[in-house]
Symmetry: C2
Subunit: 550 residues, 2 copies
C-alpha cells in the first residue's frame, strides 16, 4: 500500500468541483495542479480537434514525418505513473468520474474489457458455469456472518442508509463481493447432492471504498466477473479452484501476452473468508507486481456461516464446499503497464479493438480518389477476413498526426497506402511493436489472399513477440535469494525476490514493513528438494516470490 | 399504480427474515403466507428432486401420459398474477432477493436477458453507438440540477451516506438513470461540432426505490441498457430518438413476437427531463399495458442544466441536443405475460435459451442403448446446424415429468425418440404452442438434411404463429371510442380504449383517477382527418390509447 507511485504534476486529468469528498483525496499534488489548470481541456481528442497540425509528410516511401500532438505524454522511464495516466488520457481509455476514486470507462477502454468478457464468457460456459444476477444491495447483517470476511471488508463498505426518502431499518451494503448473498440464495436452491455442483458466474459492478485509487488498478467502483460454485466434496472444490486459476492463466498468456506467475497466496494475503487463494501475478513495466486474478477455495467457511447444506447419498446433512474466482477491469491496467512504451499503448492483437488501421496518403487532389479507392478495397478485404480494421480517412488530420494517434492507441498494425502504392498495387505495413524501418514491410501485395494471410501471420507474430518480450523482461527481473539481506537488496533494486520461505506470519509482516514487499505467491513451479528458509534458516518446502505491488 | 393485481396467497415464493424494511412490504397477503410456510421449499427444482414421479407412459406413438409435478401452477384465467409468479418460480427464471423488492435472476431467466442483449448490442453498434461505463455513484447535487428530473426521481432514490466507515460530506445517489452524470462528462468531451454526434450506450444496473414491486416488471434494482446521445441540431436528435424507438419496435416484433404499439407519450407521462418520450406499449395476457421500452428526445433540458455546449461551424457556442433510450429486464416479464399459458412459459424461438429439447423414451433395459445413441446423434445434427438443443437424458426423471418440465420452461419444440422410432429412423415432434395431437408430427426423418430443414422451418413457423396470435389478441382488445362514457365501459372490461383526445392534463388525470387508465400513447399509426375529442368534443388531431397498465 505504501509503495504506490506518486502522481505526476504533469497530468492534465480533470477533476470536478463536485468531487464529493475533497478532504480525502489521495492525488494531492495532482489535484492541486488540476485546480490550477481547470481551463485546460483535459482530453486528447479535444486538444487535437482544436489544434490541427500542419501536414509535414513526404510521400516518397510513405516516410511520414511525425507531427507530435500537443500534450505529448511523459516518457515511461521518467515517471511511470505519470506515463500511465497520460496514456489513459490520450488513448481515451478512461476519465475520472465526479466522485473521488471513480472512473468513467470510455469506449476504447471498454472495448478492451468487452474483448476480455468475450473470451472468458465462452471459457466459463465451456467449463459448465451459467451466468446469472444477484442484487447488489446486501443486508449489513450478512457481511457480519463470516468472521474474517467482515474483518476484511468492513473498512471498505459503501452503505445505503436512505431509500425512498426514509431512513432504512437496516443499513444496506453496496456489493463489495457476493459470497454472502450467494450463500443466502444457495441455501434455498441446494437440498440434495443432486443439486450439486452448482456453478454460476455474474458480470457486475462492485464497490469498495478504497483509500488510494488509480484508474483501472484500484477504483471505488469497478467491473468484474465473480464465479461462485458449491460442491459435495473438498476435492471437487479444490479441483474447481485450480481449474479456474488455470483458465485465467491461459487467458493471460494467450490473449493478453502477459506471462503471469501462478501460485498460492500466503495465509496473510489470502482472501477474507477463503481457506486458500490462488493467484496470477503479473510484472508491470516498472517491475511492480499486479495481482491480476484470483481463485479461492472457500472450504466450508461461508456454508457454515450461512447454513448451506445438502443431503449426501447416505442421507446425511453436510455443508457444501465452495469456491469463488474473479477477474476485473484491473486487467486493463495490467495490459497497459505490461506492453506500453513511450509512444503510448501497445495492444496484443487478440485483445485489440482495432487490429489494423489504414492510413491513406495523398498530396495532390487528383491522387485522392485512387488512394481512397484502394484503401476502401483493402479495408473490405480485411474486414471480410474477420480482422478488426479501421480506415482513418478523415481529412481534418494529416497522416503524421494519424500515425501518432493510432500508435498512442496501441493498434498492432498500420497500413499506409499512397499514390505509388496504388500504381504498384502494393502497400506498406508498420508494426506497432517494432519502431522505425525495422518494423516496416514495403511492397506487400494488395491481392486479397496474399494480403489476408500476410496480415494474419503478422498479427500472430506480434502476439507471440509481445509475450516473448514480456517473458524476457519478467525473467530478467526475478532474482533468487537465500537470505533476508539478499532479499532486501533485490527489492531495493525494484526486482522480484524468489527464495525459500517457511517463516511466520509476523516475519512476513516484518518484511513488508521493512522493504515494502509482500509475498506475491508460492509459485506452482517449484525447484526440487528441501531448502533453508531465507529468514530463519529452518527447512522450507517451498520458495516464495516477494515483490512490491500495486 | 392503483391497478396492480393482488398477489396470490398460493405462491410459494420464499421471503427472508432479513428483509430490510418489513414494515413497508407491498405484498401483504403473500408475505403473511410466506411466513406460514417458511419450511416449504420454495423452488420447483427442489420439490422435484425430492418427490420423484412414477412413470406412467405408454410407449406406443410416444403418447406419454403426463405426470404433473407437485405444486402445479395456478391457472392463468383464475389469477393472472399468481400464475405469473408461479411461472417465474417453476420455470426457474428468478427468485426474490433478501432485500424487499430485489430480485435474483436465475440462469434460465438471465439467458433470456442475454439473448435480448445479443440482439440489441449488434443493432446499437450498427447504428453507430459505442458501449462504455459511467460510475453508478452520482453526487446528489447533480440530480437537483434539472428541475423536472429531480421532481420525478427524488422520491425513488437510494442514497449512500457512509463510505469507508465515515459519514460523507455529500450524499451519493445510486444511479436511477444516468442523464446527469452523462452530461457532466459530456461537457468535458464535447468542444466543437466535430465532436458531434456523440453516441454511447451502457449495459448496467439501476436502482429505484419502488413502492410496489413485481419480479421483472418493477424491482428495486434492475438491469437495462441506457443509450445517450448528443447532437448539433434538434432535427438530428429527433431523428435519433425515432430511430431508436424503431430499433426497439423491430426487436419486439421480430425477436420476441410481441406486437407493440409505437407512439408518443402524453405530456403527463413524458420522462422526467425529456421534451418528448416515444414508447412501445405491449398488451399482456390480462390485457394490461406494459411500457416495454422508451426513447426520449431530451431537447436541451440537460445540456442547459449542465452547460453542455459546442462551438458550431460559425464559431457560435450552442447547447447540444440530446436523446436517451432504454430497455430493461422488464422485457422478460413482458415475454412471460404475452405468450405464457396454463402449462407455463412459452418462449418465441428466437429468444429461447433452449429451442429444442430431446426426450429419449425406453421401457426395457435392452432398448436404452439404441434410443440414447439415436438421441445423441439427433442432438449432434441440430447442434451443428446452430440450433440451441438440449438432450434431457437424466434417469432420475420419467419422460412424463420431463414433458411437463420443459413445457413449463417454454421450450418451443420437443423431440421424442422411442424404440420404434429408432427402428424406423424417425422421430416425433411436438410444438409447445399447439397442445395435443394437433401440435404433433410423427415419423419425421432423422436424415440430417431433412431433419435440419424441418426443425428450422418449424421454429420459424412457431415464431410467426406466436406473433400472429398475439396480434389477434391485441386487436380484439382495442376498442375505438368516441365518448368518455364509452371509454369507461371499455376500460371496465379490461380492454384498451382508442379515441380522439385534445383535452387538458387535468382531464387526463381525471380519467386516471376515475378509471385507473392512463394514456399509453398517441400511436404513430393514426386514422385520417379531424376528429372530436372524446372528453370535450373539441377538434382533436390525434387519437390516444387509454389502458390500465403495469
Amino acid at each position: 500500500m505504501g509503495s504506490l507511485t506518486q502522481p505526476s504534476s504533469l497530468t492534465l486529468f480533470h477533476t470536478s468541483p463536485h468531487s464529493s469528498i475533497p478532504s480525502r483525496s489521495f492525488f494531492p499534488r495532482q489535484q492541486q495542479h488540476r485546480r490550477l489548470c481547470l481551463t485546460v481541456k483535459p482530453l486528447a481528442s479535444k486538444t487535437q480537434n482544436t489544434t490541427p497540425q500542419k501536414p509535414k509528410e513526404k510521400s516518397h516511401n510513405n516516410e511520414v514525418q511525425k507531427s507530435k500532438p500537443e500534450g505529448t505524454i511523459t516518457p515511461r522511464s521518467q515517471d511511470f505513473n505519470a506515463w500511465y495516466l497520460d496514456v489513459i488520457r490520450d488513448a481515451q481509455l478512461a476519465d475520472y468520474g465526479p466522485v473521488r476514486g471513480t472512473m468513467v470507462i470510455r469506449p476504447y477502454g471498454y472495448a478492451i474489457w468487452e474483448a476480455i468478457q468475450d473470451y472468458l464468457n465462452v471459457k466459463f460456459k465451456e467449463t459448465g458455469h451459467s451466468n446469472m444476477y444477484f442484487p447488489q444491495l446486501i443486508p449489513y447483517s450478512f457481511i457480519e456472518k463470516e468472521a474474517s470476511h467482515v474483518e476484511g471488508f468492513s473498512p471498505e463498505l459503501a452503505l445505503v442508509t436512505i431509500g425512498g426518502g426514509k431512513e432504512l431499518e437496516e443499513k444496506l451494503v453496496v456489493r463489495p463481493t457476493s459470497e454472502t448473498i450467494v450463500n443466502h440464495m444457495f441455501t434455498q436452491w441446494i437440498d440434495s447432492y443432486r443439486d450439486l455442483p452448482l456453478m454460476i458466474n455474474q458480470w457486475v459492478n462492485v464497490t469498495r471504498w478504497e483509500m488510494r485509487t488509480k484508474p483501472f488498478v484500484r477504483t471505488l467502483e469497478f467491473l468484474w466477473q465473480e464465479g461462485h460454485t458449491a460442491h459435495a466434496t473438498p476435492e471437487e472444490a479444490e479441483k474447481e479452484a485450480l481449474q479456474m486459476i488455470d483458465v485465467y492463466k491461459k487467458f493471460a498468456y494467450e490473449e493478453t501476452a502477459i506471462p503471469v506467475i501462478v501460485g498460492r497466496k500466503s495465509k496473510a494475503e489470502t482472501f477474507a473468508g477463503a481457506s486458500r487463494t490462488y493467484t496470477i501475478e503479473a510484472m508491470m513495466g516498472d517491475q511492480k507486481a499486479l495481482q491480476a486474478g484470483t481463485s479461492h477455495n472457500l472450504g466450508q467457511n461461508f456454508s457454515r456461516a450461512f447454513g448451506t447444506k445438502f443431503t449426501d447419498e447416505n442421507g446425511q446433512k453436510q455443508h457444501v464446499w465452495q469456491t469463488s474466482w474473479a477477474i476485473s477491469t484491473r486487467f486493463v491496467g495490467g495490459i497497459i503497464m505490461t506492453h506500453g512504451d513511450d509512444a503510448g499503448l501497445m495492444l496484443p492483437p487478440k485483445i485489440a479493438p482495432v487490429q489494423v488501421v489504414i492510413v491513406p496518403i495523398w498530396k495532390k487532389a487528383e491522387e485522392k480518389a485512387n488512394v481512397l479507392d484502394a484503401a476502401l478495397s483493402v479495408e473490405k478485404i480485411l474486414k471480410t477476413s474477420g480482422i478488426k480494421v479501421k480506415l482513418d480517412d478523415s481529412e481534418q488530420r494529416t497522416p503524421g498526426w494519424k500515425f501518432n494517434f493510432w500508435e498512442m492507441k496501441g493498434v498492432p498494425i498500420r497500413i499506409e497506402i499512397g499514390p505509388r502504392d496504388v500504381s504498384s498495387q502494393t502497400l506498406v505495413v508498420s508494426r506497432r511493436d517494432v519502431p522505425g524501418k525495422q518494423g516496416k514491410d514495403f511492397g506487400i501485395s494488395m491481392e486479397p489472399s496474399i494480403l489476408e494471410s500476410y496480415v494474419k501471420d503478422k498479427l500472430e507474430e506480434i502476439q507471440a513477440s509481445l509475450l516473448e518480450k514480456a517473458k524476457a523482461f519478467r525473467d530478467s527481473n526475478i532474482v533468487d535469494v537465500t537470505s533476508y539481506d539478499e532479499l532486501k537488496v533485490v527489492i531495493s533494486q525494484g526486482k522480484w525476490a524468489r527464495g525459500p520461505w517457511s517463516a511466520s506470519d509476523s516475519e512476513e509482516l516484518r518484511v513488508k514493513e521493512e522493504t515494502g514487499a509482500t509475498i506475491r505467491c508460492f509459485p506452482f513451479e517449484q525447484p526440487q528438494g528441501m531448502k533453508a528458509c531465507l529468514m530463519t534458516g529452518n527447512p522450507a518446502e517451498e520458495v516464495a516470490i516477494f515483490a512490491k505491488s500495486y
